[in-house]
């Protein structure tokens, strides 16, 4: 079962991670996307834009790279490095369809070593750390607090 974290805990995890990779999916939009961008900038983390998110992220001034979720998950399960670099030690997810994320997390949990942090408005038990279930408004607020927390 995933450990439930709120904004403060999530920010701490991000700050402590040596090589965090933030995956931002197509389902993040509006205020949530703005908060996600602030988190990414604040944490100085690599950002992988999956789905169609890359155009919006670039439009918001974020140096995001288009990635395919399946390719990231596959690489994480392989013994080799990650594009010539060390593998990320923390994968952070924002803006995914729940049924996509359930599959992603289940695979990562059983076949990779990396830790996962889910910043969605639902609880994902296959993650290592997950936000609890919350309303849309609470979610956006929580994301904003994470952004503030990582910038400290």
């Amino acid at each position: 079962m995933a450990e439930i974290v709120r904004a403060e805990g999530a920010a701490k995890l991000l700050r402590r991670a040596a090589r965090p990779l933030i995956l931002i999916g197509s389902q993040a939009s509006g205020e949530a996307l703005e908060a996600a961008v602030r988190i990414a900038k604040g944490a100085s983390a690599r950002v992988a834009a999956t789905g169609n998110a890359v155009a919006a992220l670039k439009g918001m001034g974020l140096d995001a790279k288009k990635e395919w979720t399946i390719e990231i998950v596959n690489r994480m399960t392989l013994p080799q490095g990650f594009e010539g670099e060390d593998k990320p030690d923390l994968l952070v997810f924002i803006g995914f369809y729940p049924y996509v994320l359930h599959g992603v997390l289940s695979t990562l949990k059983h076949f990779s070593e990396c830790r996962t942090l889910v910043l969605e408005r639902r609880y994902f038990e296959s993650a290592d750390f997950s936000f609890p279930k919350m309303s849309k408004r609470e979610w956006v607020e929580e994301l904003r607090k994470v952004a503030e927390g990582v910038s400290v």
Partner: protein, 853 residues
């Protein structure tokens, strides 16, 4: 047939002056000697003499999964399976339950083994659905027409039963042949299921091979089902049409509730109720009731019955059937097995609709009334004494359906839906949001309706697939699904589109017309969009993808429920709905629908057929060589949109095994199993030079075999990437590069980061982007280029060396037009290499090679 070891060892197949010993070309020739001999000597589908001299002749006739392991091992080695565990606890055998998250189970299985076994089981379930469907039809045909009844393939089909003869080694010409093929599939299925029973098979690779074998058996059974439907039960087929008629073939049928006259009796067919449906059509025609009785189908029945009778109305994909049932538009529902909501009886009761179950595989606990008088059954259904009955005789089911619909139609009102005031009970708890498998924001819409705004409910109509989970969990018992239908009642009544119900197989002349364009690469690729489609927004998504791919000069075909969803897409340029916008040939700027999910076989045939037409590959018992050729040369891809049903799962594995790359829609993450490639691992990307046997490092093409995506834009971009082949000709590589780059740039406002891996020569760069590409190769990837002239001076190998064009051609990729293979036994024999017998053939420069291409 000869008997005895001594006679068997003497049996020889002879083509021209070349002879081969039967016992040397198959693992075990006992009992199939004559089949093997014919498979080699067959004048149309057998081995040309030259081919017999060129490569080692090895046939796999009636193969088990083990017999095809050479190919499967290669494929699974390159595209290593990535599993999605469905649960941590294994309860597959009596030794457990075992928690596999930390250690092996009591039987020795670990999580990977468990996942592979689950994959095999899912593929077996999918295959069994199709095999059982084919068996039911075939048994009925055998009873009616006898074993010697000839199967008509149509006058325009020169290559009958391709999916079957690749495995059985003989074409299907009679019902007896079809029975023989299906018995083989049934034997394989029981063997595979035995292996899937824990502890059973424990090796992950063997389990994966077996899962793919189940996929192949699915396609074989689907082909048998289609042949029987067309030949014995009168489904229309392009095989009998003149080519000039094909752009408008088959007839249009109407799709959508708006096509129904709700004042007249409606009989709705669900699941696999094919035989009852055919009999109902016959009876309606015989009694002259065409203007009175409306026959409609959901899912496969909409396609199959529509291919038989042009007045059939298609009411959408099978997984969304509940919306039609809840709306109460049907007076009678005839239900067979497969793709049926299990709550159908309760739902029908709410709508005062009568149910007739016609399959022993889905009897729903109903009393078997097959032996009762028709009038008595009708009386019971009309009087409301029972909601449903089981009738296992298609003739009687048809009679009861018609008479019950006529009587009930006068007594009941259709489209009776609750008022929106029921939303007033909503307390905003949000339980419905959590229950929704598509993560729709249901509570927000219900709360808005409570406040008098029904717009959000109406919007949900396009996204909801009507599983009714939301109202099942609602603590206030609000009939949420009905509220959505009620809010969108006008929208539903306005749904009326034209669609083609399916034309069966593409025909010989169509193939010939594009075969060489295909072979030389001026066609970018062939993409089939198949699947159940039920996915939020799918009706527009699948149509959008078809439209984009047709526009991008791909050959596009479809089959399965998504073919019905596609119908609602409106082409803004042509100002028509999509089936009216594009003619229906297997040609560029066309789009064709093959039919229901059994018509996946026609899609598979379309992929394989080109191999024979272009390369003259023998067809009988020669699956591996076709798969090898497809993976190496043929730009074939499939997009599967919608949920991961077992049936579609089996189809995906069967197609991937054939060398056809598969892209799964967002619900693909439920597929349990993918086959991604590891592009960065150079050791995985190689092919044999077919002339010298030299192992050559190649471009990673296609980079994946089965992968999920998250959006329709990702699906389009990924499929254009997955049609790359190591054996692409210059023009083919150029057009593929162009479409991949074009979609990528348009959808993601950036350039594909891996494009340099597919650059083999500057002559292959798309003209309109050449200078930009050359500049990026120089600036970003360190290639030596002349930006002004737009040419590459030195190519950067993946190992970091800068190479001249000649060196690069020799060391990276297959030289344009050169025969290559992934299987050692398909390397040309030394004596067949002619002037190329030397260890290294003369290597022309890329430009010379290109010009020849």
């Amino acid at each position: 047939m000869q008997n005895g070891v001594s006679e068997e060892s003497e049996l020889i197949a002879t083509v021209g002056k070349t002879s081969v010993k039967i016992k040397e070309v198959v693992r075990d020739a006992r009992g199939i000697e004559e089949v093997v001999k014919l498979a080699i000597e067959h004048p149309d589908f057998g081995w040309p003499e030259r081919r017999l001299q060129q490569v080692e002749c090895r046939l796999r006739i009636y193969p088990s999964a083990r017999d095809l392991k050479d190919w499967d091992s290669f494929l699974l080695g390159r595209y290593s399976p990535l599993h999605v565990p469905q649960s941590e606890t294994c309860t597959d055998c009596s030794l457990g339950p075992c928690d596999l998250s930390t250690e092996r189970g009591a039987c020795g299985s670990d999580m990977r083994t468990k996942c592979a076994r689950d994959s095999l089981l899912a593929a077996c379930r999918g295959a069994s659905q199709m095999i059982s469907h084919a068996r039911e039809l075939l048994d009925e045909a055998l009873k009616r027409f006898g074993r010697d009844e000839k199967i008509s393939h149509g006058r325009n089909v020169r290559y009958p039963s391709i999916c079957t003869m690749l495995f059985t080694g003989k074409p299907i010409y009679t019902l007896d042949d079809a029975d023989d093929a299906l018995k083989y599939a049934e034997r394989q299925l029981s063997e595979l299921l035995a292996a899937a029973t824990a502890p059973g098979e424990l090796d992950v690779l063997d389990l994966e091979c077996k899962a793919m074998h189940a996929g192949s058996m699915f396609l074989l059974a689907a082909e048998v089902a289609e042949l029987v439907k067309e030949s014995c039960f009168g489904l229309c087929s392009a095989a009998d049409q003149d080519l000039v008629d094909l752009p408008n073939f088959p007839h249009f049928i109407e799709r959508g509730v708006g096509a129904l006259d709700l004042g007249k009796p409606v009989v709705l067919f669900l699941g696999n109720s094919f035989l009852a449906g055919i009999e109902t059509i016959e009876l309606v025609k015989e009694r002259g009731l065409e203007d009175e009785i409306q026959i409609c189908g959901v899912g496969q029945m909409g396609f199959d019955l529509g291919r038989r009778y042009e007045r059939v109305k298609h009411l959408g994909g099978a997984l969304k059937a509940l919306r039609v049932v809840r709306a109460g538009v049907a007076d009678v529902i005839v239900v067979g097995e497969q793709c049926v909501h299990l709550n159908i009886l309760e739902e029908a009761k709410k709508a005062r609709t009568a149910v007739i179950a016609v399959s022993s595989k889905l009897s729903m606990g109903l009393d078997d009334m097959t032996g009762e008088e028709t009038s008595k059954i009708v009386e019971m259904l009309v009087g409301g004494e029972v909601t449903g009955v089981l009738i296992l005789n298609p003739d009687k089911a048809a009679e009861v359906a018609i008479e019950t619909a006529r009587a009930l139609s006068k007594r009941r009102e259709k489209l009776m839906l609750p008022r929106l005031s029921d939303a007033a009970r909503c307390n905003g708890c949000g339980v419905c949001d959590d229950a929704c498998p598509n993560a729709l924001e249901v509570s927000e819409a219900v709360l808005a309706a409570k406040g008098g705004d029904a717009e959000k409910l109406k919007e949900l109509y396009d996204s909801c697939w009507f599983c009714a989970r939301c109202e099942g969990v609602c603590p206030e018992n609000i009939p949420i699904m009905s509220l959505i239908l009620s809010a969108a009642k006008d929208k539903m009544r306005a749904e009326r589109f034209k669609m083609r119900p399916g034309r069966g197989t593409p025909v010989h002349l169509e193939y010939r017309d594009v075969a060489y364009a295909f072979g030389f690469g001026t066609v970018s690729g062939m993409v089939a969009i198949i699947g159940c489609s039920a996915y939020p927004g799918s009706e527009q998504d699948v149509g959008y993808m078809v439209n984009e791919l047709v526009d991008m000069n791909y050959l596009v075909l479809t089959a399965g429920c998504c073919a019905a969803d596609i119908a609602s897409f409106y082409n803004e340029v042509e100002k028509k709905h999509i089936y009216e916008a594009w003619p229906a040939l297997l040609q560029l700027r066309n789009f064709l629908n093959c039919g229901s999910c059994s018509a996946f076989a026609h899609v598979a045939r379309a992929f394989i057929k080109y191999n024979h037409l272009i390369a003259r590959l023998p067809l009988l018992g020669n699956f591996e060589e076709h798969a090898d050729y497809t993976l190496g040369k043929m730009p074939m891809g499939v997009i599967i949109w919608g949920p991961a049903t077992d049936l579609v799962y089996a189809a995906a594995l069967g197609l991937a095994r054939m060398g056809v790359a598969v892209v799964l829609g967002p619900h693909g993450w439920k597929f349990r199993h993918f086959m991604p490639g590891n592009v960065e691992d150079r050791s995985r990307w190689w092919a044999y030079d077919g002339f010298t046997g030299r192992k050559v490092e190649t471009d990673p093409a296609p980079p994946h075999m089965i992968v999920p995506v998250e959006t329709k834009e990702e699906a389009l971009t990924m499929i254009t990437r997955l049609v790359f082949r190591v054996n692409d000709f210059r023009d083919g590589r150029m057009s593929k590069m162009d479409s991949y780059w074009s979609f990528y740039e348009r959808f993601f406002r950036s350039i594909p980061e891996d494009f340099h891996l597919y650059v083999r020569a500057d002559a292959e760069l798309p003209w309109s982007r050449k200078h930009k590409m050359v500049r990026i190769l120089g600036e970003k990837y360190g290639w030596e280029v002349d930006k002004r002239r737009g040419i590459i001076l030195k190519y950067k190998h993946r190992d970091g060396r800068l190479l001249t064009p000649e060196e690069y051609t020799r060391e990276y990729g297959i030289k344009v037009g050169q025969y290559s293979t992934f299987l050692k036994r398909l390397i040309l024999k030394p004596e067949a290499r002619g002037g190329l017998a030397a260890s290294e053939p003369a290597q022309p420069s890329p430009r010379e090679g290109d010009d020849r291409g």
